[in-house]
Point group: C2
């Protein structure tokens, strides 16, 4: 289908260009033109479905670079708890009862919530199983994604099989909508030897299934809390004299296709290494605050020109998949803690949520901005609402005042996946019903301790 | 009109009682019964308009304890700037061109946004003029409010006239919907003598127009930034050896009807004084972060049992009037900066936004909880949405996952002011049009420097 979006304000995120009274022409999956309305309207007449964006702002869809999509099933199940108690007494015991089908439904729920709030690409790390999985959910919803399988020292054989299946069946599949990643869980759950092996596995999988344009990347938690070195010592009897990123560098596992989530507890040297090795960061401020993990040194990373993207983390440590909340929190948090109100201005935050996210996933050639030749991944945001009134500056407005409910239309890969608030790909109510049933069953199984 | 709300989950905020399959009976302005649906449905049949709240959660409307309602006109006009530059080069120059009619329209816009996001009472501080003002706007919208007039040393005579007119015409008016306050701007703009005079004026006005049940209160900025003592020294050649709250106490101006906004830069002694003198705090985390003011020691105040309520501050330092955002930010911020994930749990935040707000405005006898005999100020929140699925705990859900757009019905003083997202009192589009026109005129006047 060909589409001409008309009369909108286009925030391109390409050279920070904003086009008022603008238009976007889409042919199939691809943006073929961007410019002033009066010009494009003459060029693209017949054969283009017209979409009126008057009073709306059109942005590249958000790129959420850290999720565990299936965990929406546990949203609100356990809050306000110390991290270890939360994980060991609440999350892990109930997760043991989740079936592949549960994972699929949880990921569908997150896909729905993501699309409804203007997110078009999600980087998710969870347990992959061939039967049913997050990749299936994302492609059904029409959501672009990088699907990872999370690896632990205690299940190397299982991981290896899962990674092979994942890469073979889902990398660069669904006509390029889906890519995959190799995900060592964290430096304290993946021993140094396995960490190196996983890099080799990634290289092998890339040779078989990847390409320079569509690489299989690595997605990992790094330095989420300040006691990570202590956890590594306990797990592997390994006493680090350096920061955790420097330790990973010493193993030779860092490169430009590695995305490190959280990055809360970093040394200055760690940040220098990230710059040198071109490791990308996913900043997850809401999760870090809510779990009491601390505050990532984002201004320092930005000063050193590290690529910093944004992520929500899972809906059970946040508890939403809302990138508007993440943008606002990022914009205000670092100003507040440093007492520097000029830090990370709105336009920079919007870059972190879009084009920097694309860089972080090694996907910049296709997504992250509204540019001729890129995939048509767009969110159309309604600005005709009291909280958008009066209007001075659309970018500030997007970061400081826009709510996810203002998104009314979303296009991914040239396909309208939500129109006027209604998903076109998925029966939302049915998924909600199923999620509710799964919750009941999980709680029952937990009570009876039945696997 | 009498109303019976049925089939909802009622979060009463009275002894933390939650009633599932609950109902609320309202007669005129007042809640006359709260309980299980099956019981109330038999008792209140004929003569009660039925409202079905199935799949909804009913909460006491939020009490926003720090606003400058008219300033919605400047939302997004100036962001990401240092505080003094923001005030002196941006906000104050344009504010000089605001007419009483502009103030009225700005306050109407904030009233609309407040109601739409579930807020039923707003404590606002701005320039009062008899012709048109925030009180008129609030009563037209049906919003409960405490309307203040902000006082400065440089306009004592003018302030005195304004306060008299405000108290006479608006205190305990609109059938009790509106109350007023005497608002010294801040300790660095109100000299010590005037600070004392304003307390006397408040006492006189209370004798003429107030009552024990409906007192005229005092609303003031206190310790917003760490350089406030330096500002006081510069303004009044007064070198403080103590914290700012202790200084105010030494003037004898603190009492249980004083609400202090911000409270960022407090000494331990300041906090003890707040407890002893029963001064209430309005915590404004988004504004404090965005303007780089710092982080209020809320956990310390709570430990000392100071009443801490929540406020958005003006829509030009936030940039919304959304109390859900404030609740979530409060809940996560203090966990993150102290690395204590158990601090300020969801139920406590919800209290701060409702019943503690009522205490902070000396209005606890009538509002802040769903209780027999209190005014019917309620928000009905739709939980049948993907981001509310699955459901484990409604209170956690309200604080961590609910969005303002989930509020679909609001009742204030027994009157339905919003139903299914539509305001019943105000023509929203007309107000938006007028606000946009005022913006254009303000920018023109500023450009020409025409008063």
């Amino acid at each position: 289908m060909n589409i001409l979006i008309q009369n909108g304000t286009i925030i391109t995120m390409h050279n920070r260009k904003v086009i008022r009274q603008g238009a976007i022409a889409i042919e199939g999956k691809t943006i073929i033109d961007v410019g002033k309305n009066r010009k494009l309207k003459r060029k693209y007449g017949k054969g283009y479905e017209k979409m009126d964006a008057k009073g709306h702002v059109v942005i590249p869809g958000f790129i959420n670079t850290h999720q565990h999509a299936a965990m929406s099933l546990l949203r609100g199940y356990a809050d306000d708890l110390p991290l270890q108690e939360w994980l060991e007494k609440w999350i892990w015991p109930i997760e043991r009862h989740m079936t592949p089908h549960d994972i699929y439904i949880g990921a569908l729920l997150t896909a729905i919530e993501s699309i409804m709030s203007g997110t078009t690409t999600v980087n998710t790390m969870y347990h992959y199983t061939p039967e049913e999985n997050e990749a299936k959910a994302f492609t059904e919803a029409g959501l672009r994604g990088v699907i990872g399988h999370v690896c632990f020292s205690w299940r190397k054989k299982e991981d290896e099989r899962a990674l092979e299946d994942l890469a073979k069946n889902w990398h660069n599949k669904a006509d390029g909508l889906t890519r995959v990643s190799v995900d060592p869980h964290a430096p304290y759950t993946v021993d140094p030897e396995y960490m190196k092996e996983l890099k080799e596995i990634r290289e092998e999988l890339n040779q078989k299934y990847g390409s320079g344009k569509a690489p299989i990347i690595c997605h990992m938690h790094v330095a989420e809390t300040s006691d990570e070195k202590e956890k590594i010592r306990k797990a592997f009897n390994l006493k680090l004299e350096t920061g955790v990123m420097e330790y990973l560098d010493s193993l030779g596992v860092l490169d430009k296709h590695v995305i490190a989530a959280h990055c809360v507890s970093l040394t200055n040297r760690d940040i220098t290494i990230m710059k040198q090795s071109e490791v990308k960061a996913s900043h997850n401020p809401i999760s870090n605050l809510k779990l009491g993990s601390g505050i990532s040194p984002v201004p320092k990373m930005l000063r050193k020109r590290v690529t910093v993207s944004l992520g929500t983390d899972s809906p059970c440590s946040n508890n939403t998949a809302d990138m508007f909340e993440i943008m606002k929190t990022t914009a205000i948090l670092h100003k507040g803690v440093t007492k520097k109100p000029t830090l990370i201005p709105a336009k920079q935050v919007l870059e972190m949520a879009t084009i920097e996210g694309a860089k972080a996933l090694s996907w910049k050639n296709e997504i992250g901005s509204i540019e001729i030749g890129k995939k048509a991944d767009l969110a159309v945001v309604d600005f005709k609402k009291p909280h958008h009134c009066p209007q001075y500056n659309e970018t500030n407005q997007l970061v400081y005042a826009t709510k996810s409910a203002d998104v009314d239309t979303v296009i991914i890969d040239g396909k309208i996946v939500m129109e006027n608030g209604q998903l076109t790909t998925i029966n939302v109510e049915k998924v909600m019903e199923m999620a509710e049933k799964i919750k009941v069953r999980l709680l029952q199984r937990l009570a009876c301790n039945v696997k």
